[in-house]
């Protein structure tokens, strides 16, 4: 039993296993780049699965659409890191032992070394030793009777160990981060819209870490002021910025607002959380005048469907006012849907957008009346109406028209829908990751360790001077690079030249 465990441990920590695991890791990570992933684009995954039939279902069951959360991926990296620990522990022990060790004594047969040179010279062995000591200044050296053994490049192992331990540290911090992080996205109207990081329900989308239940979010509030976007003539965006005010920490109690300019690449960092400007779009405002004269005004964000021209689609939904009977109310709900063109381009009556900025915006609206299906308890998209309701005939298209600002459309029952205004919205992301500072620190150690361990070579040189019978001295130089021979040749040649000459030092 013990033997079995020991052999398993030895097998797991061997270099060959580590190599295999590295391969497996590379191979297993690959599907994440080739197949759509749930964490990045869930809609694309659904589409992919639907198109592939049983094959798609199989891939889904095996976790190929969430590779980095699957047990098999975890198994590989956990094994790899176990193997790494098993490799590092004895090496660290060895490292501290070697730190005090003296260079290895000169071997008997230096000509067997990968690097070797010799010459018969007219100098005494002592002079050779002195010369060798001078040539190898800075090396760890041990001088014996007519021999010198020297070693250098201990830093290589230091760098190597630092690198591997930092890698471990990085993984652990990364994993801890995944426990305690959260990430939430929300759309906020510009020109006065507010958002407070008070709870999950303030978000449109919220992705908590495994240990986050959403009750303990970092408290802060932001208010979005003016949003500006600059474009080139071809519609390519040049820059976005939102002037915001925020309060966090002590400012919350004293109700003080601090200004900040939120830009792409310039998140707001406050109290350990970060606030990002992810994107923007337009909110059309419509006023519906009901037959009884009552008015309702609503503005809700529409979704850009063309990123270049910001042509947007959406659905602005209205409840008839003053109707208490839910049955009647449900028959007279109104939805204004269609396309918003920030800068209109008309082909006949077909509206499209030709530029992302607002220049006399127009909407092409389809007005629906009937049961929107918002009361049946199921959630529905704020950007569209429920097509099932249309199919069932409970919701009907009653009018269609292109509207410029201020224009209105009249329905058959006397209801009027007016296109009032267009405003900006911004989509924001709040990110919280308490360990990312540690991850960065370990990443820097990784670079340092790697740089040192790959540039420094651990190498040895031995010199032996033997008096010959004719009074001359046979000087032998042998060299060995412990980890990699590459590049040692030049240095050895230089050292050997410095020792193998007859100049007096």
């Amino acid at each position: 039993m013990i033997a079995f465990l020991r052999n398993t441990w030895r097998g797991l920590t061997s270099m060959r296993t580590a190599l295999t695991l590295l391969f497996l890791l590379a191979l297993a990570a690959m599907p994440g780049a080739l197949l759509p992933q749930l964490s990045l684009n869930a809609a694309k995954v659904d589409e992919y699965v639907a198109q592939r039939g049983w094959w798609g279902q199989l891939l889904l069951k095996l976790g190929f659409f969430e590779v980095y959360a699957t047990p098999w991926f975890a198994a590989i990296y956990l094994l790899l890191f176990t193997s790494l620990v098993g490799c590092l522990l004895p090496r660290t022990w060895e490292y501290f032992k070697q730190m005090r060790a003296k260079p290895v004594l000169t071997p008997r047969n230096l000509s067997r070394m990968p690097h070797h040179a010799q010459a018969e010279l007219d100098v005494t062995p002592d002079e050779v030793v002195a010369k060798a000591q001078k040539a190898m200044r800075g090396w760890r050296m041990e001088t014996g009777e007519g021999t010198v053994s020297a070693e250098r490049g201990f830093l290589r192992e230091t760098g190597n160990l630092v690198f591997h331990f930092a890698l471990l540290g990085l993984l652990v911090s990364f994993a801890l981060g995944k426990m305690f992080n959260y990430e939430g996205q929300v759309i906020v109207q510009a020109d006065g819209g507010q958002f407070c990081n008070g709870g999950i329900f303030n978000y449109d989308q919220f992705r908590p870490g495994l240990q986050v239940d959403g009750t303990d979010l970092t408290p802060f509030c932001v208010e979005i002021g003016k949003f500006t976007a600059d474009y080139l003539d071809n519609g390519q965006p040049v820059g976005y910025q939102a002037d915001i005010r925020y309060q966090s920490g002590d400012d919350l109690a004293s109700n003080t607002w601090k200004p900040y300019t939120l830009q792409v690449n310039h998140p707001l960092r406050t109290e350990g959380d970060r606030l990002y400007l992810l994107g923007h779009g337009y909110t059309p405002t419509f006023t519906v005048t009901f037959p009884n004269g009552e008015k309702r005004t609503q503005g809700i964000q529409w979704l850009p469907t063309d990123q270049l021209t910001l042509a947007s689609e959406g659905a602005t939904k209205f409840d008839p006012p003053g109707v208490t009977d839910s049955e009647t109310r449900r028959k007279n709900q109104i939805a204004v849907t269609g396309l918003l063109a920030p800068t209109p381009l008309l082909h006949g009556s077909i509206l499209n957008s030709k530029f992302p900025a607002l220049n006399n915006p127009m909407v092409a609206v389809d007005v629906y009346r009937g049961d929107l299906g918002v009361d049946d308890g199921r959630g529905q998209s704020i950007f569209s109406i429920d097509q099932k309701m249309v199919e069932q005939g409970r919701l009907a298209k009653v009018a269609r028209k292109n509207l410029a600002l201020g224009e209105e459309i009249a329905l058959d029952d006397g209801t009027k829908v007016r296109f009032d205004a267009v405003n900006d919205w911004v989509s924001l992301q709040v990110s919280h990751d308490p360990t990312q500072g540690y991850v960065l620190a370990f990443a820097i150690l990784i670079i340092l360790g790697l740089g040192v361990s790959l540039t420094v070579k651990r190498r040895r040189v031995w010199v032996r001077a033997t008096r010959l019978e004719d009074g001359r001295t046979l000087v032998e130089v042998g060299g060995l690079a412990r980890t990699d021979q590459a590049g040692y040749g030049e240095e050895f040649t230089r050292l050997a030249r410095a020792v193998l000459n007859e100049e007096k030092s």
Partner: protein, 305 residues
């Protein structure tokens, strides 16, 4: 920032000239390779890790093929200078780091590969191999200049950051450097399989050393590039790592080259095994360059074609 059209045109001219000069260099290398004598046995021994020769071999007269090869090397350097000029002009004309789209990225990557090759030529007696090393780079440059070509233009908001200058340059330079060991590893396998059939290739040992030393230099740089990218991603996308397709393949590339370094310290994997891994790394690298930017859609897809 408006684009200076004149400088942009100069940049394009320099790019094409560099391509032409490289092509000429390849022809010269090819002539040298075709007419060069295979080294005599003694020279092979010296290269293969035999006893270090302390005395300099007497300089022999240059043969005609050697002179042509030297011209090839000179042409390569000239090409690199023109190539660099083209990048500098791009940068001046757009007023930003000249690696903001795929054409520019590829150009920098290839320049890094060529410069690496020039340095290797200075360190190892392998000049003639230019005939094998330059064509893949030329192919990339040609594709970059035709299919992937993009007019000089400003970049979109997400790329307006000093991190563009830092992260993209480091990644592109290290990826370019990593192309070279890919090619020399293929040559190594050929030579190692049948030394007699490829008498004009340098010894397997020299090829192996070249691959290793280049990889060992490029790998920490590549690592740094990934980490710098993560730092930028934290500021731009809200997280430092999110398994975006490009991130994923960069990770895979990193793991493959890590495997290469480990293979060189593993009994039974030195030499051929390691060479194969390096070739796999090369393949993943090129895959990352094309597939991820052109086919997969991810956050890195704004490279702009």
């Amino acid at each position: 920032m408006p684009v200076d059209e004149t400088l942009a045109t100069y940049s394009d001219w320099l790019y094409r000239s560099a391509l032409g000069v490289y092509l000429f260099a390849v022809l010269l290398y090819a002539v040298e390779q075709a007419f060069a004598r295979a080294p005599r046995k003694a020279e092979v021994m010296a290269g293969a890790g035999g006893p270090d020769v302390l005395t300099d071999a007497p300089k022999s007269e240059l043969t005609r093929s050697e002179r042509i090869g030297r011209m090839g090397a000179a042409m390569t350097v000239l090409g690199a200078v023109l190539h660099l000029g083209s990048l500098v002009m791009r940068g001046l004309s757009t007023g930003r780091a000249p690696w903001g789209n795929m054409y520019e990225y590829m150009s920098l990557l290839c320049l890094a590969a060529v410069v690496t090759w020039i340095v290797l030529m200075a360190k190892f007696p392998i000049r003639r191999l230019g005939v094998f090393v330059l064509p893949p780079i030329l192919t990339l440059l040609f594709l970059g200049g035709t299919v992937l070509y993009a007019e000089a233009a400003p970049v979109q908001p997400a790329l307006r950051s000093y991190w563009l200058a830092i992260h993209v340059s480091v990644i592109s330079i290290s990826s370019g450097m990593l192309l070279i060991p890919g090619v020399t590893s293929i040559l190594y396998l050929l030579k190692d399989t049948n030394s007699d059939r490829f008498p004009k290739l340098p010894s397997a040992d020299v090829l192996d050393r070249m691959s290793y030393r280049t990889t060992v230099l490029a790998f920490p740089l590549f690592t740094a590039g990934i980490i710098l990218g993560a730092i930028w991603a934290e500021a731009a996308w809200g997280r430092f790592w999110g398994w975006d397709p490009k991130e994923t393949v960069a990770f895979v590339t990193w793991v493959v080259y890590a495997a290469y370094l480990h293979a060189r310290a593993t009994a039974g994997w030195r030499g051929r095994g390691a060479a194969w891994i390096n070739i796999v790394g090369f393949a993943v690298n090129v895959f990352n360059l094309f597939f991820i930017n052109l086919v997969a859609s991810g956050l890195h897809s704004y490279a702009g074609l």
